[in-house]
Symmetry: C2
Subunit: 380 residues, 2 copies
């Protein structure tokens, strides 16, 4: 498969004083910078734009490479590029880092214009809808009236749903993947434990650790908790089982000995080198607050606002956002007479499947995009 | 249901120098004190004794009360007592606190006779088989040649299996509940995260915190992780769902707001008041080391050593030790022509079901014990 090649992250700054973005909390956030990337070309009618959202630890760099020597391409490179699911020969693909993040968009580690110091815990708590609002400003800036599609997995699936009901006239097709219409109690619990682990690290210093040693231990534990929930028991068993790091005999110590332990330790530690602990706190909070039906009484009332088609994808071994959660959304769509398809993909990769099973989901997504694009083109 | 009434914890000390217990690691542990309780009366033939093992956070106090004003009875009071599953009108029930524990048996917080100070990390790493070995000494001390049954859920189910293959002539019936023949990679991962959280707490001080402030924050996070794995998504949803502590509106803060968060916070904190962090490290390590087949090549080879009957119980919503793990044991039993029954109980309580679903498991256990007892009596 070919690649989008070398790409550059771009930046858009808006919501300057006194026109800050008013958040769900009533607090104001501005100025806001969004780091974003685009792949492919916007057509003349501006009818071929697809907005991709990223999951908790993702960023704007969804495809291609920044430098020829980069070891890895963007996080969804298997899905975005010429001839791929999000075909950059036909579509113009946009991906922006979330507010509250730490990959170029305004977040807790950014300078608070009021104090001249990093926000830390002065950063306002935001919601999935606030993320969507901020990205609408980017879509306006790019001069796009109506997106061909919004798409994403996990937290990004929530943003996809939120976009569809908050800006019903501004999207043709919504592709929420491996997600739910509301964060479950169990998933709130997992996020909460991660937050506790970070806050229990004395180096967290109530969020005021910039320029000092960050709460690496707490963040590593938080990531380990998250990471296990992204994998299936089957994946862990086939990848590691009960294999030991050294030989076949137990070391009879409390140190990591099983390969699964070293793997998670490495994953946790690597994460601390690329992610900000406060961003982890804020973004997981936004996920936990997500409840599409909250203001509308029922899920059908909420989803009834949408005017897009829906392609819902889920994976059999995903126990974090199991297929039944997508089925709930489909039922709500049906109850209000909306168009929707839910496809459950057979996979052993757990929640991570949405990042891995590109071959299995590409045909369905390609076809849905094509249908949406053709109907746009014929009307246009 | 009536109760066993007021009970007292007893203590048995053995393995004095130079006859310490030799552990699987090759290290020696002694003297060993086991805290234990007994309920009911041992019959003249000593043929009615049942050894109950406790799970990770349990203790010797399985039934009755220590003081009339105790708010709660022992941890398995619903199962042990006159007319209950483990009927103390007929059977003599024994439960001992594990070595490595912190409820009266010798563990990391006990005084190391070599140094006159608490063991801390000088306590030897032990295995499920070591736990079983130490309790065999207690059974010898009580003059019991052959147990009518061994029983327990979770880690205690592992001890039940281990007893059956390590002392095949010394048990008539094994009742492993909600357990597995080996700890899975996923479950090692969950335990590992708990250990990381404890060790990341600066107050842990490499285990040398006795007399100082213990690593409460780390232990609380470890307990929260464990606790979530004991519950089902259904239980968390029906108990808490997305309910907030205060009213219906979000607080837009990083503090716990959802009831499930406060619940877990309280559970975590309460646990630090009753459990020792080092014991948590050692006992979870023993669980992770558990692999019944390790020395025998296959599970069938291992379980083929047993001479007891087996009654395996599992619960539909238990995702920590799901029914398929018990089914694996049953298959191994069948492969070597052994007697075994596996019953999967319909329950929404997740792994905790073994502590909660007494009404559902009592008839099966009662009947199995009765059959075993009758066959003992008729032979005796």
């Amino acid at each position: 498969m070919s690649s989008v090649g070398l790409v550059k992250t771009k930046y858009y700054t808006f919501a300057h004083y006194p026109n800050e973005l008013v958040l769900d909390s009533g607090q104001r956030l501005g100025a806001i910078t969004l780091a974003y990337e685009t792949y492919g070309a916007l057509n003349e009618q501006k009818s071929n734009a697809i907005l991709i959202f990223h999951a908790l630890s993702g960023d704007a760099h969804a495809a291609g490479k920044h430098h020829p020597k980069d070891e890895k391409p963007g996080w969804w490179d298997s899905m975005i590029g010429p001839g791929k699911a999000f075909d950059t020969d036909r579509y113009f693909v946009i991906c922006a880092n979330t507010i509250g993040g730490c990959k170029g968009s305004t977040g807790p580690s950014s300078i608070n214009p009021r104090t001249g110091r990093p926000y830390g815990l002065d950063f306002p708590v935001f919601t999935i809808r606030d993320i969507v609002r901020s990205q609408r400003a980017l879509i306006d800036h790019l001069g796009i009236d109506r997106l061909l599609a919004v798409a994403g997995g996990s937290m990004a699936g929530m943003e996809t749903l939120e976009w569809a009901i908050t800006y019903p006239d501004r999207v043709k097709l919504s592709i929420p993947i491996a997600t739910a219409s509301a964060q479950s109690a169990q998933n709130i619990a997992f996020n909460d434990m991660g937050r506790r682990a970070i806050m229990a690290d004395p180096r967290w210093r109530k969020g005021d650790y910039y320029g000092k040693e960050p709460p690496f231990d707490g963040l590593a534990v938080a990531r380990m908790i998250g990471h296990v929930t992204y994998l299936s028991d089957a994946t862990l068993t086939s990848k590691f089982g009960r294999k030991l790091e050294n030989g076949d005999g137990y070391g009879f110590s409390l140190n990591p000995e099983f390969r699964v332990e070293s793997y998670l330790k490495n994953k946790g530690e690597a994460f601390t080198r690329r992610f900000d602990a406060n961003s982890y706190l804020y973004i997981t909070r936004a996920i936990d607050y997500f409840d599409l039906s909250k203001e509308y009484g029922t899920l059908a009332n909420a989803i009834g606002r949408a005017r897009s088609r829906f392609l819902l994808l889920s994976f059999t071994s995903d126990w974090l956002y199991p297929p039944c959660k997508s089925e709930e959304i489909l039922s709500a769509l049906r109850r209000c007479g909306k168009q929707g398809v839910h496809k459950t993909i057979d996979s052993t990769y757990g929640h991570d499947a949405f990042l891995v099973e590109d071959a299995k989901i590409t045909p369905t997504i390609s076809r849905a995009l094509e249908e949406a694009y053709c109907s746009v083109s014929s009307k246009g």
